[in-house]
Every structure is written in structure tokens, then in C-alpha cells.
């Protein structure tokens, strides 16, 4: 079980049509990327954060844990902008302008990250994936994507249990044991995944499977008014940012 996935099914926004959430989060994302970072990125981040912790009901702890790794990347990547290399006198030197770039890129990326997390934390993939045929993707591909989504949880479960057993037998107590265990885990996972596929084949054949994984997708009505409302927030952010720039 993955924390983002679990939270998505519990989100009060779960019932909203993906297109509505897409408009809201996508619009904010565009604001973060395209508007001047000050105050655009800060405003975007604030709106996304308020929406996430407020109406979208994202648990703050889970949000923080999910943001940790990408924030680490953003920090490492931004820090390298502080120095410049290959100058005339020294090999590595402080870039006098670097901190401004670093802050700007860090702010933009953090705001964008929040928009992505807001979408991920409120949109269950089980409801998003079957709709991908609507945007013109081949149905065979969509079926495979949905199948991967289902099967990855089974595989994840297997890998966790195997890793637990290995750890219990001190399989991660030294680097050498670690390589041995990780290798054995990968191999077991491969064997079990293929075994799973064959068993699922048999199981589905009993249910009339002949090559197509057709299912009944329940419609969520898409109301144009909701899409318009969702688009209003990004527009407001954009208007504020631009007028701030013009007024100064």
C-alpha cells in the first residue's frame, strides 16, 4: 500500500471529475512555471497548499513525507547554481548572481511540486486510468496500464514480504549480504510476477476472457460549470501576479 494512493481514495475530492481536478491543478502548475516567480510561485504554492490541507483533505504528515524526496532533489540541484566553474583565476568560485537563480528555481519547482501532489493526493488512479481511452489512447495500451496498476500492488506485497523474511534472517546486516538479498529478491519477484500472470490468465479464462479486459466504467457527470470554477483560481493567481508586476 502506498500512502499517496491510500489518501487519494479517502480524499473528499475523490468524486470530482478528473477533468475538474486536472483544470485546477494544471492551471496552477502553469502559473508556477510561466509567471514571474515573485509573487507567482509563492501565490501558487499558497493556493495549492490551502486547497490540499483544506477542501482536498490531504493529511499533512503524508504530504510532508511524500514531498521529502523531490524537495531533496530540488535543494541539491539548486545548490549547484550557487557556484560557477572554469573561471579565469580559480576553478570553483561563488557565482554572485547564483543565489537569486537558486531561490527562483527552488521556489518555482516547489510550487509546481505542490500542484502535482495535490492532483496525486486527490485523484485515485482506478478512476483515472479507464478514462484514458477518451483522450485517444489505444484501448490495448490502456488495459495494460490498468493491469500494471493492479498487479503492481500484488508485486509490491510480495517484495515487501520477501524483504521482511530476508531481513529477519539478517539478509541486510552487511553490504555483501545486501547485494545477495537484493539480487534474490529481484529474481523471486520476476518468477512470481510471471507465475501471477499465468494464473491470472487461467482465472480470467474461467470468467470468459478472450483477450479483451472490458469493464463497465461508472460515469461521473462532467459539469462545465465545475470546470469553469476550477479554472477561476489559476486565473486569479495569474491576474494578481501580472497586476503586481504592472503596478510596480
Amino acid at each position: 500500500m502506498l500512502p499517496i494512493d491510500v489518501a487519494a481514495y479517502r480524499s473528499p475530492w475523490r468524486r470530482l471529475h478528473p477533468a475538474v481536478k486536472g483544470t485546477f491543478c494544471g492551471g496552477l502548475l502553469a502559473c508556477a512555471l510561466l509567471l514571474p516567480a515573485w509573487p507567482g510561485a509563492v501565490l501558487t504554492a499558497a493556493v495549492a497548499l490551502v486547497a490540499a490541507l483544506g477542501p482536498a483533505g490531504v493529511p499533512p504528515g503524508a504530504l510532508a513525507r511524500a514531498a521529502w524526496v523531490p524537495l531533496g532533489f530540488i535543494a541539491t540541484g539548486s545548490v549547484t547554481l550557487l557556484v560557477s566553474v572554469g573561471g579565469s583565476d580559480t576553478l570553483v568560485a561563488w557565482d554572485p548572481d547564483g543565489w537569486r537563480r537558486a531561490v527562483e528555481i527552488g521556489a518555482r519547482a516547489s510550487a509546481a511540486l505542490l500542484c502535482q501532489l495535490l492532483f496525486a493526493f486527490s485523484t485515485p488512479l482506478a478512476e483515472l486510468l479507464p478514462r484514458l481511452t477518451r483522450i485517444g489512447l489505444p484501448s490495448a495500451l490502456v488495459e495494460i496500464v490498468a493491469l500494471i496498476y493492479r498487479m503492481l500492488f500484488v508485486a509490491l506485497d510480495t517484495s515487501r514480504r520477501v524483504a521482511t523474511v530476508q531481513a529477519g534472517r539478517l539478509g541486510y546486516a552487511s553490504p555483501r549480504a545486501w547485494v545477495r538479498s537484493a539480487g534474490a529478491l529481484g529474481a523471486t519477484l520476476f518468477i512470481r510476477s510471471y507465475d501471477r500472470a499465468r494464473r491470472l490468465q487461467h482465472g480470467l479464462e474461467c470468467r470468459g476472457y478472450t483477450g479483451e479486459l472490458r469493464v463497465l466504467v461508472e460515469e461521473i457527470p462532467l459539469r462545465p460549470a465545475a470546470v469553469l470554477a476550477a479554472g477561476a483560481a489559476p486565473l486569479a493567481v495569474a491576474a494578481t501576479t501580472i497586476s503586481y508586476g504592472v503596478l510596480l
Binding site: L2, I4, L29, L33, A66, P70, F73, I74, T76, G77, T80, V83, S84, V85, G86, D95, D97, I105, R108, A109, S110, A112, L113, C115, Q116, F119, A120, T123, L125, P138, L141, E143, I144, V145, L147, I148, Y149, M151, L152, A155, L156, S159, W178, V179, R180, A182, G183, L185, G186, A187, L189, F190, I191, S193, Y194, A197, R198, L200, L204, G211
Partner: protein, 238 residues
């Protein structure tokens, strides 16, 4: 290393998406052809995709403790071939972005280019070359060497591309793209070179176990050429 959402300027993000698109479209094409030719392939591809996702979430040891790392790229390319890997890798990266917040949606194209296109192609090319060069050696040894070199170089190739993508987006004030590439490369190489070697070793352990336990699958996937010499898989050989 996944480039986070929003880290690349929009023009760069778009350009990398365009660059990755032909490979992904070609990959999806071979995926759908495989399904049409053999209806059982759908479930096997589902299992392969799930396998790639979980493999890429394996924690492996590094100097700084353990870290999550895309272990699957090289092995996936050897097992499933680069075109299929381009499609499966894209799906994996999409799920990583939406389920784990590793990598972003606008940066998906850039990440696909490094991890689902360049990585697999490097892995596969090196793997084939080493296989050819070591054709006279025993099958298990040849396979082990090829898998090790392919995986380790794919890992390094992936990180080089990521560094280049960042360098192009953020050229150094003094020395331009080259200097920035050196900068990003240096920061990442600290952890990435040991990781590449460990990843290579782990993949060798995986393949050696599969030779005993899942030979039929390896033969079907074309990884094994002939019946390998009976040799006990001795874990201490690693």
C-alpha cells in the same frame, strides 16, 4: 535520479517530451503488436510492468546509507528489449510520479528520455557487444559479464543524460553548458558510480538465479541462447 516537477524551464520540458515521443510511440506500437499477435501477452506485459515498477523501488545500499534507485532499467532492457522498455518505462515513470512523487508530469519527457530511452539502449547495446565478444566463454560467464557491463553503463549513461539535461537548462555563468555539465556530473557521480557498480552486481545475482529457476522464461525472452553449462550458482562468486 528523477528530475522533479517544475525544475526544468517549460521550453526544455517541451523539447525533451518531443525528443522522447518517437521512441515511446514506437514502443507502444510494438506493445500493441505483441498483444495482437499473442493474446496471452497482455497479462505477461502487465506483470512485466509491475515487475519494473517494483524493481525500480528496490532500496540498494550506497555510501550514504540506502537509497531508492532505478535498478530496473538495465535488466528490463535485457529482458524485454529497448522498444518495449520505452513503453513500460514510461508507464513506470508515470506511476512513480503519481504514486510516489518521484519525478514530475511536465518533466516526464525528460525523465523518459534518460531512463526509458537512453538507459535501455545503452544497456542493450553494451549487453549485445559483450555477448558477442565473449561468445567463446561459458554461457553463464558470458551472460554475467554482459549483464554487469550493460547494467552498470546504463546506470552511468542515465545519470550523464540527466546531468546534461540540467546543464542545458542551467548553463554555468562562466563556462556555459560544459561547465554546468561538469558541475552536475560531479555532484551526482559521488553517489552514482558506486551505485552503478552495485546495481550491476545485483543484476548479475538476479540473472544467475533466473538461469536455474526460470530457464524457460529466459529462453522464451531470448536471453539464453543455448543450454548453459551446468554450474552451481554459488552466491559467493559475486
Amino acid at each position: 535520479m528523477h528530475i522533479a516537477e517544475g525544475f526544468l524551464p517549460p521550453a526544455h520540458a517541451a523539447a525533451w517530451t518531443v525528443a522522447a515521443a518517437p521512441f515511446v510511440i514506437h514502443g507502444v506500437g510494438s506493445l500493441t503488436r505483441a498483444v495482437r499477435a499473442n493474446p496471452e501477452a497482455k497479462l505477461l506485459l502487465g506483470a512485466s510492468g509491475a515487475f519494473c515498477f517494483v524493481l525500480s523501488a528496490l532500496k540498494i545500499p550506497s555510501v550514504t546509507g540506502s537509497c531508492s534507485h532505478p535498478t530496473g532499467v538495465g535488466l528490463g532492457a535485457v529482458l524485454f528489449r529497448p522498444p518495449v522498455m520505452a513503453a513500460l518505462g514510461t508507464i513506470t515513470l508515470l506511476f512513480q510520479a503519481l504514486l510516489l512523487a518521484h519525478g514530475g508530469l511536465t518533466t516526464l519527457g525528460a525523465n523518459v528520455f534518460s531512463m526509458a530511452v537512453v538507459g535501455p539502449w545503452v544497456a542493450y547495446t553494451v549487453y549485445r557487444l559483450v555477448r558477442l565478444a565473449t561468445a567463446s566463454l561459458p554461457e553463464t560467464t558470458s551472460l554475467g559479464l554482459a549483464v554487469f557491463c550493460g547494467t552498470a553503463l546504463a546506470s552511468i549513461g542515465t545519470y550523464s543524460v540527466t546531468s546534461l539535461q540540467l546543464a542545458l537548462a542551467f548553463p554555468d555563468a562562466q563556462s556555459g553548458v560544459l561547465g554546468a555539465f561538469a558541475k552536475f556530473g560531479a555532484v551526482f557521480s559521488l553517489t552514482q558510480i558506486p551505485l552503478a557498480i552495485i546495481e550491476g552486481l545485483i543484476t548479475v545475482v538476479i540473472v544467475r538465479l533466473l538461469i536455474t529457476a526460470s530457464r524457460a522464461d529466459l529462453l522464451r525472452l531470448g536471453v539464453l541462447r543455448r543450454t548453459p553449462d551446468p554450474e552451481p550458482t554459488d552466491e559467493k562468486a559475486v
